[in-house]
Symmetry: C2
Amino acid sequence: MNEFDVIAEYFAPLTMGHDALKDDGAVIAVPDGHELVISSDTLNAGTHFLEAERAENIAHKALRVNISDIISMGADPLCYQLNIAYPQKPDEKWLKAFCDALMADNQAYNVYCSGGDTTSIKGGVLSISITILGTVPRGQAVRRMHAKDGDNIVITGGVGDAVTGLSVLTAGHEEPLYKMAVDRYRRPRPRHVLASAIRRYANACADISDGLIADARNIAAASGLGMEIDISKLSFSDDVERAISEGIITQEEVICSGDDYELILAVSDANLPLFLAECDSCELNPQVIGKFSENGLKTTFLNTGSLRINALNKGWTHF
Amino acid sequence: MNEFDVIAEYFAPLTMGHDALKDDGAVIAVPDGHELVISSDTLNAGTHFLEAERAENIAHKALRVNISDIISMGADPLCYQLNIAYPQKPDEKWLKAFCDALMADNQAYNVYCSGGDTTSIKGGVLSISITILGTVPRGQAVRRMHAKDGDNIVITGGVGDAVTGLSVLTAGHEEPLYKMAVDRYRRPRPRHVLASAIRRYANACADISDGLIADARNIAAASGLGMEIDISKLSFSDDVERAISEGIITQEEVICSGDDYELILAVSDANLPLFLAECDSCELNPQVIGKFSENGLKTTFLNTGSLRINALNKGWTHF
């Protein structure tokens, strides 16, 4: 199979019957009264996923972290471009597992592949870039910059599972004990069921990709606000609690590390019960962990106990 | 400078004042009555550009090959996502040269950077993926599949300069003698001035990225037609003629190699004078090199002289 055979056999079905991969570009209809939201994430072997990771997990992660960005804008995901650079010709077993996983996510999240590029990268490592498009009713995209004084800081679930999963995998701790955390690291769960609730009830939103503290501060800074986070309001999964008690990870790492892909939102007191009810109906376990407020741009931590957090922690940076 | 400082200092100005890089995604307005066209190209060091290539040439090539795809659909380029994987932290001189070149092209082609991702790729080589968006009046995108029996095969300029330039660079021939060809290899020239003429006058279009014969056959095959190419109608630049006569490259390589980013179009007899007049007014030198026709799906070459061409030549493939 050459490059074009691979595209026809494995990637073409991912267009889900849309008119794509036939021209230099694909034509995409944007419904009247809607705007487009666009986002990109690149995942590189050895940096964003372990080099030995299974093809299906790489596929799930690559697509889902992109879907998460669209959801955090209050938009509905539509389609994506898939650019893959292969260090050597991919074998068909790998391709099948990779594309089967994308197909399952296409169906789960109602998206399709609108195109991309399949290339070779001599002397390189596997690199996957996805650019995703979503649609949102005009003027209703949810930004970081519109949090208001007094808004509640809400997260759509516990943080720290992903970094715990990664620590377990890299340190060689017994994986079955940390099955949930490892699965969260490998296969994030974008909160797509909340897209319309985010539009209706949130003043600001971001996904927790760089770390809870860093992403919360991104909202606060963009909105010209400070924030107060009550550490005692944070609750963690059993896996995270066990990893902390066994010294696999510290509580500060849990709070400052990313890759969780829960959402962090600014929600007014008036909208809070409505938003929490939506989360309940979707079987999510949101946490209300503090307030954005007009106290300069200061970050304050309450009830920290023995925990010391660097409020300026930047979360993950590539360099 | 860490990743975020680099983005703020070097990449943020490329948004040209648009509201981007501030959220998990960017919001893009699509004018009423228009559709979106999307395309992606990945460029890897050592495969798509020479490892020692200068930053500004990498930037020009990466953006322009993407712009070319949008133009070949008869669309107007709008904005792009820029995903870069760095094998090591980029130095500021490199970043400045790279981003200055993108800024110049933003202005020349009226596009802006709407986002992207800046990552590290351990043990890898530099990899750049761009996804570009364009807009086109609804229903007017130009496809490969609508060439008609009797349409003329038109190319917007001579082919072979890029492959000649690459051969000169890799074989160490004296570069100043082949200045034009080398420049075409490094910095393709998307024919953006023709976007509206393509919508008005062409039944089908593609850009010549894989090779003249391969890209012509893509149109013929998509349209269910055959084609007849009169080799004597092809004219080449002085650099290409000299490279052939000096044995640096063969005529078959010239015709079958890609990277030229001229356009190949199917134009009816009635529209041909109008399209050629548009090319003239843009100071381009188009060539009418044959016809698409209902002779099965056969490719026929006329006036080949001593030249032997494999009509099934697939052009460039990655594997």
